[in-house]
């Protein structure tokens, strides 16, 4: 690793940043703190505001309100060209009339750096991205994966304070995507550059991120590590978006101090569970029970159910259960040949494995205008 390439990014702070297009709120007032060198993913369905948030950070879109700081600099009203950011677009946006080398050199050459320094830095980054010898190629001659690396090299060579990536693997096929994910992670660990990464693919987010911001309806629903999001989702949207989940409608009888007493209609019983903040008596709520936490008891304990579907996945078996209430439940078990469709079982769970979460129906949103 040569010294000149190592250059940790800056911290990023958004305070009360929002964006409206006419009467349409693409992004509700949002606070976000990203530490220097952190890899943060914005994860959400299309129209959730994640691309708007990225474009605001890049400077392609001006916020309606709020303040954006990169390190100590207030960049709120600064256009992208003065922010020192590195942007990787979904379709890469490589300049079609330039060679690979010219594309990568572009950011340095518009900074009027001396030619020998440009050549040296372009050479370094190309070899870091395993693109040695491709400098004179036309970008059209490169494969999708190679183009992706060229786009990344072009963004990294200017030593950006923040690296921004907008679904950069969206155009790659599934197998390639997997290997590029691992490569991106290695690269981030090596360079330690502050990175904001936009995706709608939760697996990608889990592989890459230090922290994930789950977005929906123009706001960050929850910001946290993978563990936070998986084990302690704050609402039904996050619980449903991260991993697989059973979300059963419940009536909250009482709630206080992270505990709640809920009436679970599907189980035909009232149970005491851990509750996410915001769970309150009378408010719509869901009970979260992950498929791998569903336990089957053949001694008659628990909620009676019938196995209606069995899918062997090798080591694991995916089951669909129908409870007596008619509600279906997904379960995942270590493969056991005794589990057959039609068998009667009883469903149980460990107290720590069920959680009450507010329902929080996501706001209906129009198509994200800035989804460029």
């Amino acid at each position: 690793m040569t010294q000149s390439v190592v250059h940790t990014g800056q911290s990023l702070r958004l305070t009360g940043v929002s964006k409206s297009y006419g009467s349409f709120r693409a992004l509700e007032p949002t606070d976000l703190d990203v530490a220097a060198g952190e890899f943060l993913t914005l994860l959400g369905p299309s129209g959730s505001g994640k691309t708007t948030l990225l474009n605001l950070t890049a400077g392609y879109v001006e916020p309606t309100a709020g303040e954006i700081r990169i390190g100590e600099r207030d960049v709120t009203r600064l256009p992208a060209r003065h922010r020192n950011i590195g942007m990787v677009f979904q379709n890469y946006a490589l300049f079609p009339h330039m060679s690979v080398g010219e594309n990568v050199a572009y950011g340095l050459s518009v900074r009027r750096l001396p030619k020998p320094e440009i050549a040296r830095r372009v050479g370094e980054i190309l070899s870091l991205m395993r693109l040695d010898g491709f400098a004179d190629r036309a970008v059209q001659q490169m494969s999708g994966g190679q183009q992706q690396r060229v786009a990344l090299a072009r963004a990294l060579v200017i030593e950006p304070d923040v690296l921004l990536m907008d679904e950069p693997l969206g155009a790659l096929d599934k197998q390639l995507r997997r290997s590029v994910q691992l490569e991106l992670r290695r690269l981030h660990q090596k360079l330690g550059r502050t990175t904001i990464y936009v995706t709608h693919d939760q697996e990608e987010a889990l592989v890459l991120s230090d922290r994930i911001a789950v977005m929906d309806g123009g706001r960050i629903q929850q910001l946290g590590t993978v563990d936070d999001l998986y084990d302690r989702p704050v609402n039904a949207f996050v619980a449903g978006f991260i991993g697989e989940s059973n979300l059963l409608p419940v009536r909250v009888l009482s709630a206080s101090g992270g505990q709640a007493s809920v009436d679970v209609e599907a189980f035909r019983r009232t149970i005491a569970v851990d509750a996410a903040p915001g769970t309150a008596a009378g408010e719509p709520a869901r009970l979260l029970l992950r498929p791998e936490h569903v336990e089957l008891d053949r001694n008659g304990e628990g909620v009676a159910a019938e196995i209606v579907e069995v899918i062997y996945l090798g080591e694991l078996t995916q089951l669909t259960l129908r409870l007596e209430s008619g509600q279906t439940l997904a379960a995942r078990q270590i493969t056991d040949r005794a589990l057959r469709a039609g068998a009667r079982v009883h469903v149980t769970w460990k107290p720590g494995h069920v959680r009450a979460v507010p329902h929080s129906p996501s706001k209906p949103t129009k198509t994200e205008k800035a989804d460029a």
Binding site: A80, R81, F89, A93, F95, P96, Y106, G107, R154, A372
Partner: protein
């Protein structure tokens, strides 16, 4: 069965191929015959006239080259064509840009605004300009009443009139290819350039302009070639004060019945055009810009 199949296959393919050739020839035949009889043969006849002057095979070219008047006419033709092309580029650029950014109804209105003149004959439009540009025409009266000039300007029967009329008629040929190039430019390329720290001037000079170049070159070639050979508009608006090569050729044929000179003039015009096109194709990095999606 299979052995027979593999044997007959190449044969069948060859038969199919020759049938294809026959079909192609059959379909192209009539057009080729018409083209040969009505274009190639007359053109060859015409050009051959240039070499059969009684004074010698190259005497006509000598006359053209030695006469100061003819050289002046050729130079004037060239200057007018260059000026028309340059002014068309300047005027077409903003129109094409706006066109490439408009959507829906406004795009439709703007596009028809550009195309509308095509529906009116060149002759009618040129006569209209004669009325407008007259000594006592509306334009001069407007300029005088606005106090911009004291005496009426000479807008007609000189190069000014020729330029105005030709630009008006040729502008769409510049706008449309330029629009075609601009509308294909991915806006994200401009955002990428901006994000990489390029000033607006750099983004224009190094990204936008090169990607517009194929359209620009195409439009400029159209306009330049059309204005080199333009006849009606220069003849009506320029008159005897602004003679172009096409007017000279017409006068060789109509007034002097000097067919060999007319043929030589046509050949010279064609040669100039071919040389310029060859140079343009060689000098402009058009192919690189063509990769723009």
């Amino acid at each position: 069965m299979t052995a027979a199949g593999t044997h007959t296959q190449p044969k069948a393919r060859a038969a199919l191929l020759s049938r294809r050739h026959a079909e192609t020839a059959f379909l192209l035949g009539p057009a080729l015959v018409v083209l040969a009889l009505l274009f190639v043969v007359p053109l060859a006849r015409l050009f051959s006239l240039a070499f059969i002057d009684p004074a010698g095979p190259f005497a006509t070219f000598g006359v053209l080259a030695e006469s100061a008047v003819y050289r002046q006419v050729m130079w004037n033709t060239f200057v007018v064509a260059v000026m028309v092309t340059a002014l068309c580029v300047l005027l077409a650029w903003p129109v094409a840009y706006v066109l490439s950014r408009l959507e829906g109804v406004w795009f439709g209105i703007a596009l028809y605004g550009v195309l509308f003149p095509f529906w009116i004959s060149v002759l009618v439009r040129t006569f209209s300009w004669m009325l407008l540009l007259e000594r006592n025409g509306p334009i001069n009266r407007l300029l005088m009443s606005a106090g911009i000039t004291e005496a009426p300007l000479a807008l007609l029967f000189n190069n000014v009139g020729v330029l105005i009329g030709m630009i008006h008629i040729l502008l769409p040929y510049m706008i449309l290819p330029l629009y075609g190039a601009m509308v294909r430019i991915d806006r994200r390329l401009l955002l990428a350039s901006d994000g990489l720290g390029a000033s607006l001037v750099d983004t224009f000079r190094r990204i936008y302009l090169p990607l517009c170049l194929p359209g620009l070159a195409g439009g400029a070639t159209f306009v330049f070639l059309l204005s080199l050979g333009f006849f009606i508009t220069p003849a009506l608006l320029g008159g005897s004060n602004a003679i172009t090569l096409s007017m000279l050729i017409a006068s060789f044929v109509n007034d002097r019945l000097a067919w060999s000179l007319a043929a030589a003039g046509s050949l010279a015009l064609l040669a100039i055009v071919l040389v310029l096109m060859g140079l343009a194709a060689r000098l402009l990095p058009i192919e690189r810009g063509l990769f723009a999606r």
